[in-house]
Structures are given as structure tokens and as C-alpha cells.
Amino acid sequence: MGGFLRGCRIINIRVHLSMSSTEIVNTFEIKNLGYKYPGNIPALSQVNLNIREGELVALVGANGSGKSTLLKLLDGLIFPSSGELRAFGTVLSEKVVDSGAFAREFRRKVGLVFQDPDVQLFSPTVWDEVTFGPLQLGIPKEEIISRGLEALKLLNVTHLKERPPYLLSGGEKKKVSLASVLSLRPQVLLLDEPTTGLDPRSQGNLIDFLLEWSDEHKVLIFSTQDLDIVEELATRVLVIGSDHDIIADDKPEELLSDRDFLLKANLIHEHSHRHKELVHRHEHVHDHGHHH
């Protein structure tokens, strides 16, 4: 299944890579990367890709395909079982990311927003949360305060500054999670299912914010199940297949118009309806009623 799907999209991968062959600045370089959970359970296998400055990358795939694992690998929280992962030209390893100048710089440049905000929000108040990152990186106090206030203002959550995280709503928690990473002023933003649990209006606000945040030097990589936001936000889509490898790497408009591929990759599903004596089948995409 994985091999067949890879064949379907390989031409597009080549086209995509050849288009950007001049002045490429790779933020991440991944070669033959594999990751296994304890018990030899595969989470990712044979992943090869480069991610460049200025890219807005969507990671899509069925549940359990390895999207969250890839984000944690890119953030240097876990390390490949095989292959190589380079960030800013340096091979990421436990030793390199644990301490020292590169570790400090890497943590300042790369921020990950976890899928579950309760994991992300471990400090007693929202203010402690947004200042946690800059404080650990030894940034001067005045700068920390200005960054914290700026991050709260960017996400419109200044009024929540003194609140404890357990008294926040789901949407507020998501915004504060993002603010807690933005206060690091990262160059690379990794978001794990950023729109899960958000109402359509908050989803729209988040997409607008991320589009405004991005520029030619920043990198946004987000995992999602929602093809609507892929279309609106991403400039590149990576599809992880059921064999935990990359089965497609393409532009959103190309990939989302390929219904056969989407069906085979379990990204959409086919509905069957009965109209009197006739059984009618059609593809089905979840639409959350949010259009620009």
C-alpha cells in the first residue's frame, strides 16, 4: 500500500524539489530516519526530507502514523533509532541538545506546541507560563517581561495574565500554550494539531495569526487531520502513510485535488447513501463551515 502510494506522488516530489534548487537554506535535513518505540514498535521509517526557511509545512496522516513523533524528533526531545536528523546544519543527538551553546540556541530557535495544552501548561499562572522559556534561557529580566507581554498581546490573552491554567477554557489554554512558545521568539514553530478543540472562529483567528507570523526566514510545521487548514495555511504537505514513511510531498492545491490518493491514504472516506432503490457512493471531506 505504502509503495503504491509513493509511486503515485513521486513525480510531484521531484518537481517540488527541483523548483527550489537555487539558494536553498535547509533548516532541517533528514536522511533515512527511523524511530521505534520500546518493544521495537515502528513509529517512523525511512523518512527523507529537507525543510527550508520560509516553508509552511503541513504533516498529515491517519491516527498513529507518526506525526507527533516526527515533531518531537524535530524538537530534539527524542532521537532517531536509525538515520540522521540535522537542524541548522548540526546532527541532533542527546549530547548536543542536552547542554552547551548549541542547546541554548536550538531551544531559543525551535518551539513546539503540544497537542494537549494540559501538558504544555505546567506553571502556576499564565504569566509564569509565558516567562518560563525565556527565563530558562538566561534572557535579561526586562527583556523577559517585554517578551511575555508581547506574546500575551499577540494572542489577545493579556487579561488572563494572573489566572491559573486550570481555570482556563479549552480555547484559552490553546492560545496560552502558543503564547508560551512565542515568548521565545522562535524561528521554527512546531504545532501538534493546533486547531483541535477550537471553535471555527478561534480556528480562523489562529490561521490568520500564523499567516501573519510567518515570513521568508521562519518555518512553520504543523500536524493536522483537518484538510481545510492545510489548504489555507500550508505551502507544502507531507503525508505519512500507514507504513510510517512519507508517501507524498507536494503543494496543497496539487495534493488536495487528487481524490484517489486522498482516499487511498485514508485522508478522506467514502460514504454510501441509499436513494430509494439506488445505492449512491461519494467521497466525503469534513467541512467545518469556515471559508475565507
Binding site: F114, F122, D128, Q136, I144, P164, Y166
Partner: protein, 272 residues
Amino acid sequence: MKGKSFLAGNISSFTQALESMVVTEDLCRAPGLLQGLDPRVKVITLVLFIILVGLAQSLPILILIFIFAFVCVILSKIPHVHFLKRLFIFIPLFTAVIAIPALFITPGVPLLSLAGRTIITEQGARTAGFLIMRVVDSLSLGLLLVLTTPWTKLLAALRWLRLPSLIVAVLGMTYRYIFLLLHTTNAMFLARRSRIIGGFRGGENRRWLGRALVTAMMKSQYLSEEVYLAMLSRGYQGEVYILSDLTMRRRDYLWAAFSVVAALLILGCTYL
């Protein structure tokens, strides 16, 4: 019916615990006497009063300290019922375990005799009274601190008092995640309640409770691993740094001066 009351009772307890945490958070932010003080001054002065409670040798002084604590309750706009409920929830247990035996085993001048035998002595009654008043006073002062200081400010004060930053961070996270685990456990009980008709026998309930506890423990372990990764992701390298924005104002100095004078008076009355 038994099963239903078991579930209903647990759900009610979890909900009460959650509500109590929210109420405490609101009280800490209310505009009152103690809420307006710097947490460092509050921690030092209230701990000083607790030490004085231990040193005091006179029952009237212990009663006076309780009256002082109750005046603080009023001036800090803490609902009396809420305060007294939280205070006296521990007293019966303490009285039964320590104070009541002291009534009967302390030798001295007879106070109550029955059939020619001394049941309670004056010294016994006095010892029991001291024990109870010391617990009431200490608990009142401790409650005043907790009910008028947001947990975050309390942690900042402890950090200022040179408590290791790792311990402060662990205390902060414990409080934060107790709330989350209460929510999770409450949801587990509600989910079970939604799927049963009638009830279960005691044995079945205990078996389910055991399984629920294991599930909650596994969830908390997963959560702790993920939280650690989230901390690493934002630069944590074994030492937690906390931003302190505590400032002393005129009223803090006034309260500190009042506390020192009161302490000297109590010590004077006790030892001079």
C-alpha cells in the same frame, strides 16, 4: 442502591474538592487586609505567630490569638462559615486521639469524681484545653495564610526564603496537576455512572475502584513524561528559574512592626 450511593458520594466529593479550590482562588484575590500584604511578610509573620502559639503558657493568651485570627478573617472578607468549616473538620479527630486521653491520664487535683474515684483532674482539663487551643490557633493561622495568598505568590515567597527552586517548582506542579487529576477522576466516575442502571455490590465497587486507581496512575505517569518533554522543549536543563516581582509597601512594614510588637508582648506576658 448501594452502588449508586457509592458513585454519587465519590462524584460529590470530587466536585466539592474542585469547587473548594476555585473558592480558595477567589478568596485569595478578594480585596481584604491580608490579601493586600506582601506574601513574604505574611509567611514570616504568620509563622512567627504559630511559633508563639507553641511557646505560650497561658490559656487566655491562646484564646486572644484565636480572637486576633478571627478578626483577620473578618477584615480579609473570608466567609466565616467557610473558615470555621475548614478549621473544625480536623478538631474532632485530634480531640479524640490526643486531647480526650489527656483528660483522664494526667494526675492532679480532682475536678470530677465518680464513686469516690477521680475521673478528670484540673491538670488534665488544663492540658486538654491547651492542646485543643494550640491546634485551633495554629490551624487558624495556617488557614489564614492559605486562604489569602495565591499559591503562586506563596511559592514566590518560599523561593525568596531560599527554599530550593526545584522544590518550589515541584510544589507548584503538584498543585497544578492535582486539579487536573481530580477532573480526570471525576470524569471517570461520571462515565461509569452514565453506563449503569441500579447499582453494584460493595465487592464489585471495590474492584472497579482498584482498576480506576490504576488507570489514573497510568495517566498521571504518561502526563509526567509529557510535561518533562514540554519543559525540556522550552529550555529546562535541570534548574528552574522563577521570575520574582514581589515589592514591599508601607502597609507591609506596618504589619511587620505590629507583628513584632505583638510577639514581644506575648513573650513578655509568658516569661516575665
